[in-house]
Symmetry: C2
């Protein structure tokens, strides 16, 4: 079913479910664990594909929801598909569009939309039926119906290597009964997505199933069994992961533990440093999150604890802060990125104060390099089975949740592939 794709586990940690993998796609190989950067509207905000490549980026994604509204999947297809359209020749994923429809629909305006001027806070999700989701475009109010079949059709037009089934992204504040019914409909939608995928399969794409079930272990088990028994190429953990980080680790832990480990496992929308270390130890292969690139556009540059100014905590420095006004140092003195090689924090502070567009570009480049270095360090640490030690290099002691609390979840029996 996937002649041009494969996923092989190269190395399995003896201490956790962490593993080194190799994900082969028609547009190249992804060494996992890997981070997927968000090119929401077919562009990484402020950074060109060649600069992304220069920072060691392996893998990006675009959002079907945004692209179906603007410019429209048929435009992207006419202009040669997403790879050609945006001039990215590496591995690429599109989501199903579901997440944005439902996060908008619930009134919790999706992050991607938050930045807009004339913010339209009216609910845009009109109805969810067995057929699909009906919603209004945030741009022009036009009504769209997204069915599982249509989600796959659109993703085929877009042409990313990896596509995702349409699911209902169940919110946190619903009861178990709703979560169960929603999950069951998502499973029926997944089968319809898979059928449509098979019908049009041209060998250039592979499809991921999504595990739903919210914060209920029995539902997650059911959903895990469902994806395991159908021929998805990979699995993505979706839906509500709980109210806090501890609950997220718990949910991801028991979910990942039950997944078919011959397939790549993606954790949707998660990309904090701590979350990545925890996720990797739980067996996650790929992550995506807008955090590194969005943070940059607000002046936040990711740094390891060593590179924080005295007394500061967290995962980044805010370059708008006046303490950087005449700071001659680069963001991180040990970072090989073009920005740290050439520019001082003082200059970046000036660009931000002067509202120069170049600020977004340069800080994003650093953050992309930071994430790629983080994942590279993680892959190297898996090879040497030193992940716990590596974690301490990237996190403040307070944030460095002891690896032991990961191990309360059973490590499945090594390579299952």
């Amino acid at each position: 079913m996937y002649p041009n794709f494969s996923f092989t586990v190269q190395e399995q940690s003896s201490k956790s479910r962490a593993r080194l993998g190799r994900l082969v796609t028609p547009h190249g190989i992804v060494e996992t664990p890997a981070f997927i950067f968000c090119a929401t509207k077919a562009a990484i905000k402020a950074v060109s594909p060649s600069d992304m490549k220069a920072c060691g980026t392996q893998f990006i994604l675009s959002n079907t929801y945004h692209l179906m509204i603007q410019p429209g999947a048929e435009v992207v297809e006419k202009l040669g598909g997403l790879h050609r359209f945006m001039s990215w020749d590496g591995p690429m994923l599109t989501d199903s569009g579901g997440f944005q429809i439902f996060s908008l629909g619930q009134g919790s305006v999706a992050d991607e939309i938050k930045g807009r001027r004339n913010q339209n806070r009216t609910k845009t999700l009109l109805k969810i039926t067995e057929e699909g989701a009906t919603f209004k475009s945030y741009l022009d109010g036009r009504v769209h119906l997204l069915t599982p079949e249509r989600a796959i059709e659109i993703q085929r037009s877009l042409g990313a290597d990896l596509v995702v089934v349409l699911d209902e992204c169940t919110p946190f504040h619903v009861d178990k009964n709703y979560t169960r019914q929603s999950m069951e409909m998502s499973h029926r939608w997944a089968l319809r997505s898979l059928e449509e995928f098979k019908r049009g399969n041209n060998g250039k794409q592979a499809i991921y199933g999504i595990i739903q079930g919210g914060i209920y272990e029995d539902l997650r088990s059911e959903s895990t069994a469902f994806v395991n028994e159908h021929p998805f190429f990979g699995h993505a953990i979706g839906g509500s992961l709980g109210a806090d980080k501890a609950q997220m680790r718990e949910v991801v832990g028991y979910t990942a533990a039950q997944l078919d480990r011959s397939r790549p496992i993606h954790l949707l929308g998660i990309g904090g440093i701590n979350d990545i270390f925890s996720g990797v130890e739980q067996g996650i292969d790929t992550f995506d999150c807008v955090h590194p690139t969005r943070l940059a556009r607000h002046g936040g540059a990711l740094v390891r604890p060593d590179n924080l100014p005295p007394g500061k905590t967290g995962d980044h420095i805010n370059l708008l802060n006046a303490i950087f006004r005449v700071d001659e140092q680069p963001i991180e003195s040990d970072c090989p990125c073009m920005v740290c090689q050439k520019y001082s924090r003082g200059y970046l502070h000036h660009l931000l104060k002067a509202k120069e567009l170049l600020a977004c570009q340069l800080i994003t480049i650093h953050n992309v390099m930071f994430m790629n270095r983080l994942l590279l360090a993680i892959r190297q640490a898996i090879k040497t089975d030193t992940l716990s030690a590596e974690r301490k290099r990237w996190l403040m002691p307070a944030e460095d949740i002891i690896s032991e609390d990961i191990k309360i979840f059973p490590v499945s029996g090594g390579l299952s592939g």
Copy 2:
């Protein structure tokens, strides 16, 4: 006085005052005629220095007015001077700050300021006296006094290769008497600038004098005689150049004709394609203008007439136009820039519609390459004495003002250097 600088004329056209020159600075050589791109606030808007270099850029400038207000010349100096600060290692010029003070002061808000949100339309120029110009910062209302000495001091802190005397930028709508008095004060300011320059001369900078005199040939002659007889490294034609293009050509023509031709001649703030051809034929060596980079941020991509869509005229295409929605072609099919190699007009149209920052970066890169290719073509045409033919390749027939009307101004006797 300028041990590390030189200007030599390599080739003189037999048909006009057009010439090939070589301007040597401590940060490299500029082959002239050349275009100077505006890095107003120590950054080319949306484009990194390495991308500027990749487009063949030789020469950039920054504006003293903006930098003295933010971040302050002392900050730039502490952070290693402009070259180090912004990571540009090529030749660089700063202006005196006068132009912005006076253009703001006259109530005709300077172009650079036009883009600002909370536009402050109150006059910020408080008074002009023999001592200097007193103005309010557009940022915080703080009062600054810019004297000729201070303008040079600030430019020394900034550290560009080429600096400029402080002058009063006389507006168009004043009478001849005001223009004369203003010019005479500018001459006194120029001598004070020159004295301060000599006092602190460290061999790393060279100073340009400015020719004033408005649209009055006798005043321009006086001003030309003034700069010729003082030891400026180069000359810049400033002040009002008239009400229209025809008058500008006239003023530039008789002014350039009388200048000491052993020195490089700059035409301040002019950069239209037609104006550049005319200026080169009148003996101008360097030009600067925000047009190519600003146009890009509004979706305008410079193209030669051959690359205009059928029925269109002008020097650019507006990529926001719906006709480009599914256009697979690059901006210019014969352009070697990274953008034309990789992206379609359709993609750039999408980026603009989606308000993606990458749009500014990519279209600016094309426009920078366009200008550098234009100036390269001009230099090659001077070598082969085919400037008139070259002009026709870059301008629509209607815009292609016949070279003859340039020749009504006497060509001075070849190389005077």
